[in-house]
């Protein structure tokens, strides 16, 4: 509770800044725990964005995002938290996320998934296929 500069008039303040700070700290903790995965993900998305920006549709979206207050605020926080360092000294990914997505979508619809799962089960590799644990 804060006063509004005038005695006797309490003002209720919602703790949105705390939520944002917690989110940033959480993201920084994730980066410390999984730096390689975080770098790979960020680089891949930035490369995707650069490629998309060379298309007419991408240019329209870029102009739209550039005028967004949400993006301006996010950029400020991104830079202040030092997340830009994730892009230092790395190579551009050879395959973009949308390429992976298209490949996954095509193969998901054309592959006999039941047969695939049974085959992997017979090979004793079902845990590796379905879990996120270490290989």
């Amino acid at each position: 509770m804060q006063t509004d500069g005038r005695p006797g008039l309490p003002r209720l303040v919602l703790q949105e800044q705390d939520t944002l700070e917690r989110l940033v700290r959480h993201a920084q903790r994730l980066l410390r725990r999984h730096p390689t995965a975080a770098r790979t993900l960020v680089r891949a998305l930035v490369a995707e964005g650069r490629t998309f920006s060379s298309t007419p549709e991408g240019q329209r979206w870029q102009a739209l995002l550039a005028s967004s207050d949400l993006i301006s605020r996010g950029r400020l926080l991104w830079l202040a938290a030092g997340f830009d360092r994730l892009l230092e000294g790395g190579e551009e990914p050879a395959v973009l996320p949308s390429d992976w997505l298209m490949l996954a979508a095509d193969t998901l619809l054309s592959t006999d998934i039941e047969a695939l799962l049974i085959r992997r089960l017979r090979e004793g590799d079902i845990d590796g296929l379905l879990s996120f644990g270490p290989a």
């Binding site: 998305l45 930035v46 490629t51 993006i71 997340f83 949308s98």
Partner: protein
């Protein structure tokens, strides 16, 4: 004061370095592609989305495990 071309160049250079904007643009690109894939699969217009009555399809829902 900058001339118009140099101001434009400066603005473009700043945009080139704006990795957060490209990150957001990349996320939009992936989301649009995903929307395209799903819309294509369900035969709906990605700009319109499913109708209020539900997704219009030619046949029964596809069993992905078959």
């Amino acid at each position: 004061m900058d001339s118009y071309p140099s101001a434009l160049h400066r603005q473009r250079s700043a945009q080139e370095r704006d990795t957060f904007l490209y990150l957001a643009l990349g996320a939009v690109s992936v989301a649009l592609r995903l929307l395209e894939c799903v819309s294509e699969d369900l035969d709906t217009d990605p700009r319109v989305g499913p109708s209020a009555d539900g997704v219009q399809m030619d046949g029964p829902p596809r069993d992905l495990l078959r």
